[in-house]
């Protein structure tokens, strides 16, 4: 009796598998060759439907060809006579992690895989003009006109899957993209204090014609600072700062009143607070806008391009706080805070440009005092010269 029941269950299960198998077959019955019979001939498509054309030779060289058309596009044997529009391709069946990554980034909802990738071509990344340029027209046009375009495409610098905006990315992260190829670009042959410049400036500040100066203060770890000559900047992570402030939110480290902006007084308070001795602010110069006109601009070799910009150009400053996902959120700082003479941005000084006017006036008064004393004495000396002649 038990044996009979087991046999019956196996039979039912076998039948179900058979039906299911037929079902799968029926929805992707066509072989790649069948598909290409129509889709491989451009003349089969009316104007505007060219996107349905697939270059068979090109497709044969792709990894996707091994899986066949049916692995992405579900059609019946009656296609196209059945009038059913095939479902859109589903990249996540194989590229689950990448699609997941994309769904969390800025491109989610704004771009699909096939906007940038051509799955029917070997190394199917579309050209910048056909992919990124469809949305970022101005940036791509600017980029394609620069010398850089011959050596790198958009995705060599920008990760199109984990898209982060210009403001969400730290200056150090931006520079890392450049040093991937330009690893020896130390500029030591002409740039004084070159390592310091590399740590305190974004590459694109000089190598694009981006406009406006912005100083972004990053929170760095200082526990391990030794009085050595050179040191790398070790940025504090979200977790590091959470340990310092608890569940109040990392921005409360400096923005103590939580109003979404930082005053000079709040900066001073942070810098003077012995509780936060293990961290400090590292200033980095970047630009207000991000241009894609990469190149070598000779005027940037003239130090006065930045150093003679004057205190008026040094008004805009932000503190960039790390987020849990590795991005940064910028909080605006009171205008002119970087010009404070002592403790607001105690460790950021751009010679010439972030000088403090009060200190300058005090210094000039000292000089005027010396000069004035000499002039005053000299005047009396001339007026009383007769007295000395008598002696």
């Amino acid at each position: 009796m038990v044996l009979k029941a087991k046999f019956l269950i196996i039979c039912i299960f076998g039948f179900m598998m058979l039906v299911a198998g037929i079902g799968i077959n029926s929805s992707s019955a066509m072989e790649t060759d069948d598909c290409l019979e129509c889709h491989g001939d451009l003349s089969n498509f009316d104007e505007g439907d060219e996107r349905l054309y697939v270059d068979g030779t090109q497709f044969a060289g792709t990894k996707h060809a091994e899986d066949g058309c049916g692995s992405c596009h579900s059609v019946t044997d009656d296609h196209p006579d059945d009038g059913v529009v095939p479902e859109k391709e589903s990249c996540d069946m194989c590229h689950e992690d990448t699609v997941d990554e994309l769904s969390k980034g800025l491109h989610a909802g704004n771009a699909e895989c096939t906007d940038c990738h051509n799955p029917h071509a070997d190394r199917g990344l579309k050209s910048p003009g056909e992919s990124c340029g469809m949305c970022h027209e101005e940036a791509v046009e600017e980029y394609l006109n620069s010398h850089h375009a011959a050596n790198a495409v958009c995705s060599d610098c920008h990760s199109p899957h984990t898209v982060m905006s210009y403001l969400e990315t730290s200056g150090f992260e931006k520079n890392k993209q450049c040093t991937t190829c330009h690893e020896n670009a130390g500029h030591s042959e002409w740039l004084l204090r070159n390592k310091l410049h590399m740590q305190a400036t974004t590459c694109i500040s000089c190598h694009t014609d981006s406009k406006g100066i912005v100083i972004t203060m990053y929170i760095e770890k200082r526990e391990d600072i030794k009085p050595d000559k050179e040191g790398e900047i070790d940025l504090a992570t979200y977790q590091d700062l959470t340990q310092l402030v608890g569940d109040k939110g990392v921005q409360s480290l400096i923005d103590t009143n939580g109003d979404g902006s930082i005053t000079t007084a709040e900066l001073k308070e942070f810098n003077m607070n012995s509780k936060y001795k293990s961290v400090g602010l590292w200033g980095m110069l970047s630009t207000k806008t991000a241009s894609h006109s990469y190149g070598i601009f000779e005027d940037r070799r003239d130090c006065s391009f930045c150093h003679a910009a004057g205190p008026k150009a040094m008004q805009t400053c932000y503190v960039a706080f790390p987020n849990q996902d590795g991005t940064y959120s910028r909080v605006p700082v009171e205008e002119g805070a970087v010009l404070d003479p002592l403790f607001a941005t105690a460790d950021f000084y751009m010679v010439g440009s972030t000088r403090n006017d009060i200190v300058s006036i005090l210094g000039l008064l000292i000089i005027a005092g010396g000069l004035g004393a000499a002039c005053l004495h000299g005047t009396f000396r001339i007026l009383t010269r007769k007295n000395r002649r008598k002696h």
């Binding site: 600072i225 002592l342 105690a346 010439g352 300058s360 000292i366 009383t384």
Partner: protein
């Protein structure tokens, strides 16, 4: 005509040191002004100004060491020449101030008489002691910090702005001193007397100066 009595006030080492220091400080003041106020002063190009400033700064450092070692270990006269004695502190400084402030204009003689062992008047002693043992070390050390070491070093000193502020204000004191010093150098018995002494080493001994 009787030949004036000459005294040898400034040996060659002192004169070399003095003129290196003088040209060095003047160069540092000029290039430093361009470095701080580049949009107003552009004499050499910014990079050149920084390079001249760096190089001259190192040279003046070495020159200060020459001064220090000469007076401490060779001439052994640092304390005698530069540190005011009790007389200087009690009455000498006041007499000297009265001389520069009033008596000079009345045509009265300088209360201080230069000798090789007592070259400086009480006011000079105080000023030079302050300059050579306080201001020069401050500006040289802060300058070396700004020249050689990244901003991370400054964290230990309270930040780069403290170092740079101190460096600038002391530099301004030097600029002020330069004007006063150059003017006072003309207050000898003739306009050029003290200046010639610093070139030849010899000074004419004059009763009323």
């Amino acid at each position: 005509m009787e030949k004036p009595k000459m005294i040898y006030l400034n040996p060659l080492t002192v004169r070399i040191w003095h003129w290196i220091h003088a040209t060095g400080i003047a160069t540092l003041c000029i290039t430093g002004a361009q470095i701080r106020f580049p949009e107003y002063i552009n004499l050499f190009g910014y990079r050149t100004a920084v390079l001249i400033h760096d190089f001259t700064g190192i040279f003046v450092c070495l020159d200060w060491l020459l001064w220090f070692f000469y007076y401490v270990f060779i001439d052994k006269s640092l304390i005698k020449l530069y540190v005011p004695n009790m007389y200087d502190l009690k009455t000498g400084i006041i007499k000297q101030m009265l001389f520069y402030g009033f008596n000079y204009f009345k045509g009265k003689p300088n209360p201080h008489h230069c000798t090789p062992d007592n070259k400086f008047n009480p006011m000079q002693k105080g000023a030079y002691l302050m300059i050579m043992l306080t201001l020069v070390p401050i500006i040289l050390v802060s300058g070396l910090l700004l020249l050689l070491i990244t901003q991370k070093w400054m964290v230990f000193l309270g930040g780069v702005k403290i170092v740079i502020g101190l460096h600038f204000l002391v530099a301004c004191c030097f600029a002020a001193f330069l004007f006063v010093h150059m003017y006072l150098a003309t207050l000898g018995h003739t306009f050029w007397a003290h200046i010639i002494t610093m070139i030849t080493g010899w000074e004419e001994e004059v009763e009323d100066h």
